[in-house]
């Protein structure tokens, strides 16, 4: 249960932050200057993190994803 709360909580947080970063990407501040926060980078990080969480959620659902069992070796 704890795993589910952490995973889904992270997924929601990353989604929310990603959507917020997306809305800020490419916009200007009210005073006309560029944002100091790298919103594009944050959005990219959120998307990547979200996919990692999705894999973890798949693990929690019972899907095995261990690379050590890959037919072509661990790497």
């Amino acid at each position: 249960m704890f795993d589910w709360i952490i995973s889904l909580g992270l997924a929601v947080t990353l989604s929310g932050l990603g959507v917020f970063a997306h809305s800020r990407t490419g916009t200007m501040r009210k005073d006309g200057r560029a944002h100091l926060v790298p919103w594009r980078g944050i959005m990219i990080g959120c998307v990547f993190g979200l996919f990692l969480i999705l894999v973890h959620v798949a693990n929690l659902l019972g899907v095995e994803t261990g690379p050590e069992n890959s037919p072509f070796g661990r790497f």
Binding site: T25, G26, R40, G66, S70, F72
Partner: protein
């Protein structure tokens, strides 16, 4: 009724620069050697060979993904700078030629006439040529009945060459009167001031910039999933990737239509290759080989996105076949190509244009592996597989998010289900390979229908990055 005249055969492109000759002897020998060696290796030691292949492919694909992400981010940063302010120079207008190849396009002729009539350019300075096949009487009759701008000419394309768009375009190029020239497709609806922007950019740009590409925006009818996928692709390609390549002075494969040229240079380089089925992409790359550059403008052209698989598939088969042809011609003399482009641009070309040839073949098998293993509640991909999968999904999603701000359920459904669209490319890729072997110069004609959802919003002021409301 437009004035009709017959054309004569235009001069041919040198054999070395044309697709007509097919792969060179060295390319054939190398391909046979490579596949024989691979088959032998797989027979003797399958696992090590697969591992080595996997590592090579991993490095290549990660390079492609990193580059694509870099171009998408750079392209999105450019967007604020891309824009157009009309200056006084735009008031001294030369003759502008417009070529529109038409084949079996009777249903869409009225829409085309209206789109061309909307262009902001003095009628007496506009040289519109409709390029019709000599035996296509239905389209000829439709053209005669439609209200094209005064001075529009019809050029009848004689038989004798491949029945292709570039063959028709070369006929038109012979008779073009303008200092500048633009190509539109039958289904195009260009923004009215596109010619003004192109002319202004040409006037201010250095002579090396000989071609300009306007962004193409797909219009989606009835929120069809396939049409949305097509539009998403276009928004990334024309909104991010091509502007980034142009800004970095890299080679830009011209796309589809709405290409603007300095007419004299286009004639000097021999026009289009009539034997190449993606003549636009090849022309952009050929210009780069000769030291010229392609730029981007911001005023878009709208066209209706294909919404049926039966329309999408032949078009995609032609595109992938054309990319394969183009890559083959370019790589006939790889050392010469590297000398002409420079080593850095040569590798850039391999990672960007090479990707459009290679990746369609990989989507299907990769999806199949994932589907089969998931069916057994396992997804054993190895560290490389996982890295590729997550990086690929991230780059695809980020690119689309950076390309535009889509609103509504249908576009978001399309964005989130993109991975289900990619395997269709593999079907098209293998069909293209077969086509390349059986009928390399066959031009699969994409059927076009008029925009059924009311008036085409040609005059919307949106750029490639914006979301017009279709």
């Amino acid at each position: 009724m437009p004035h009709v005249h017959n054309s004569t055969l235009p001069p041919r492109l040198p054999q070395a620069l044309s697709c007509r000759g097919g792969p060179s002897r060295a390319q054939r020998s190398l391909t046979i050697l490579l596949f024989s060696g691979l088959a032998l290796g797989l027979f003797i030691a399958p696992i090590p060979v697969i591992r080595v292949l996997g590592y090579c492919l991993f490095g290549l694909l990660m390079g492609m993904l990193a580059l694509r992400l870099g171009l998408a981010v750079f392209g999105s940063r450019l967007r604020r700078k891309l824009g157009w302010v009309r200056s006084a120079e735009a008031d001294q207008k030369p003759i502008y030629s417009i070529l529109v190849p038409l084949c079996d396009e009777a249903p869409i002729v009225e829409q085309l006439a209206s789109a061309l009539a909307n262009l902001c350019w003095p009628e007496d300075r506009l040289d519109i040529q409709l390029l019709l096949e000599a035996d296509d009487e239905v389209t000829q009759m439709a053209v005669a009945a439609a209200a094209f701008p005064p001075g529009t000419r019809v050029t009848l394309v004689p038989p004798g060459g491949p029945r292709s768009k570039p063959y028709a375009l070369n006929q038109g190029l012979q008779h073009a009167r303008g200092a500048y020239l633009c190509v539109f497709d039958a289904e195009d609806c260009p923004a009215p001031d596109q010619l003004l922007e192109a002319f202004q950019v040409f006037s201010q740009a250095p002579d090396e910039i000989v071609a300009l590409q306007a962004p193409l925006i797909g219009l989606v009818e009835k929120d069809r999933w396939l049409a949305w996928q097509w539009r998403l692709e276009y928004s990334v390609e024309f909104g991010l990737i091509k502007p980034a390549l142009a800004a970095l002075s890299m080679r830009v494969p011209l796309g589809g239509s709405s290409n603007h040229f300095r007419t004299k240079t286009l004639r000097d380089v021999g026009g289009w290759d009539p034997w190449n089925v993606t003549e636009d992409a090849y022309l952009g790359l050929r210009l780069a080989r000769l030291g010229y550059q392609v730029g981007m403008i911001s005023r878009p052209t709208f066209e209706v996105a294909p919404n049926r698989f039966s329309v999408w598939l032949p078009q995609r088969v032609r595109w992938i076949k054309g990319y394969m042809m183009t890559w083959m011609v370019l790589m006939r003399q790889p050392r010469l190509l590297a000398q002409q482009l420079g080593l850095w641009r040569f590798f850039f070309l391999q990672l960007t244009f090479g990707a459009s040839v290679l990746t369609p073949f990989l989507y299907g098998p990769a999806s199949l592996v994932i589907a089969v293993t998931l069916w057994h509640d396992r997804l054993y991909l190895g560290a490389t597989g996982w890295t590729l999968l997550l990086s690929g999904l991230t780059v695809a999603l980020v690119s689309v998010l950076l390309a535009s701000r889509f609103k509504g359920v249908a576009p978001w459904l399309a964005i989130l289900t993109q991975p289900f669209y990619w395997p269709f490319h593999t079907i098209a890729a293998f069909m293209a390979l077969w086509d390349l072997y059986r009928r390399p110069w066959y031009w699969a004609k994409t059927p076009h229908c008029p925009w059924a959802s009311g008036d085409l919003s040609c005059s919307t002021g949106s750029s490639a990055s914006a979301s017009p409301s279709p």
